[in-house]
């Protein structure tokens, strides 16, 4: 018993470690988005900062390390913490490649303090860029495309 107590005393304080949770296995379908523009309204309403109108800005923001989210059809956003085949979700190639695409992914969901987080371990299907918002909004922000010859 005494040896057990000594052993326990040598372990790091459990209180100092984060309270890890197992998470929930999920399959999600949604669009890979730039979370900053979506939540902040810096470029306009949420309808204008998704899809083709906002594709170039989404590339900039993903390359800039802004968290990438998966926007589901019910409006819930799942912030990506890991992505199949790429160690980096802060501007890594894999999250950059799928910006604005509609995706079906398998992963593990964690929720805390109102935010959904997802660890994506498999992209089941990439349906491509199907949200044609440029038909309503042109490009957002307007300077995303430079005038020819500039």
């Amino acid at each position: 018993m005494r040896r057990l107590l000594v052993t326990l005393a040598m372990l790091p304080s459990l209180a100092a470690l984060p309270a890890a949770a197992a998470g929930e296995r999920v399959r999600l379908t949604g669009e890979a988005i730039d979370t900053w523009c979506y939540f902040s309204g810096v470029m306009g309403g949420t309808d204008s900062v998704v899809g083709s109108a906002h594709h170039t800005c989404a590339l900039w923001c993903a390359a800039g390390g802004i968290p990438v989210g998966l926007l589901a059809d019910d409006g819930a956003v799942y912030m990506v913490l890991k992505w199949e085949g790429d160690a980096s979700v802060t501007g890594g190639d894999a999250v950059l490649e799928v910006q604005s695409d509609r995706l079906v992914v398998d992963g593990v969901l964690h929720a805390r303090d109102g935010v959904n987080y997802v660890i994506v371990d498999r992209v089941v299907e990439n349906l491509g860029l199907v949200n044609l918002t440029h038909q309503d909004y042109d490009v957002v922000p307007p300077f995303a495309i430079e005038a020819p010859g500039k």
Binding site: L17, F39, S52, H55, C61, I66, P67, G75, M79, V115
Partner: protein, 195 residues
């Protein structure tokens, strides 16, 4: 449009927006710059910088992922995990380069809590300045562009803002166009946009 002019345009657009920062639970003493964002509240608070994946799933490399992972703040006052989306630069960049030097450290941060979305009932954070607990001097959260330049030394010598000359972004636009719908669609759209 040049980098400084784009930054100025972005700031002007936000500063002229309809919303003014609201007083929030953490607004006292904040000197954060207002951006007129959705649900914006100035917010100054003490916290611990965390690797979010470590915090929620127990997957904990010693160095918070060395820049490859999203980082957050566990606020002292209520234990809330606050997701950090943005640093202080109006240049399409995140905050990992600004937070990483403080991995697992106690800090004080000043910035903006933003967001008011019914489907996502959370406040997200834009960090504008940061200091270690007990330190007097603040550091501006504006490290990203310098870090990008160090990662892209050749591109950094070219004129223009980083996002116009980032090699990976340029390659994707060259392949799929600005709209992401292919070069043919892009060409027709550019003709419409700039008749």
């Amino acid at each position: 449009m040049s980098g400084p002019r784009i930054a100025a345009a972005l700031l002007a657009a936000t500063l002229n927006g309809p919303a003014a920062a609201q007083e929030g639970a953490f607004s006292a003493g904040s000197q954060a710059e207002e951006w007129s964002l959705v649900g914006e509240e100035k917010a100054l608070f003490s916290a611990r910088v965390v690797d979010i994946l470590c915090e929620i799933a127990g997957d904990c490399p010693a160095d918070c992922g060395a820049g490859a992972r999203q980082l957050g703040l566990v606020r002292d006052a209520d234990g809330a995990l606050v997701a950090v989306l943005k640093n202080g630069q109006p240049l399409f960049n995140g905050a990992v380069d600004d937070l990483l030097p403080y991995c697992n450290a106690a800090v004080e941060v000043d910035g903006l809590l933003i967001g008011d979305d019914a489907a996502n009932p959370a406040k997200f954070y834009q960090v504008q300045r940061i200091r270690r607990a007990g330190e007097a001097e603040w550091s501006k959260a504006n490290r990203w562009t310098q870090a990008w330049a160090e990662r892209n030394p050749e591109a950094a010598t070219l004129p223009g803002p980083w996002f116009r000359k980032d090699p990976r972004v340029q390659a994707l636009i060259a392949r799929e166009g600005y709209l992401g719908l292919g070069l043919e669609t892009d060409a027709a759209f550019i003709e419409y946009l700039f008749p």
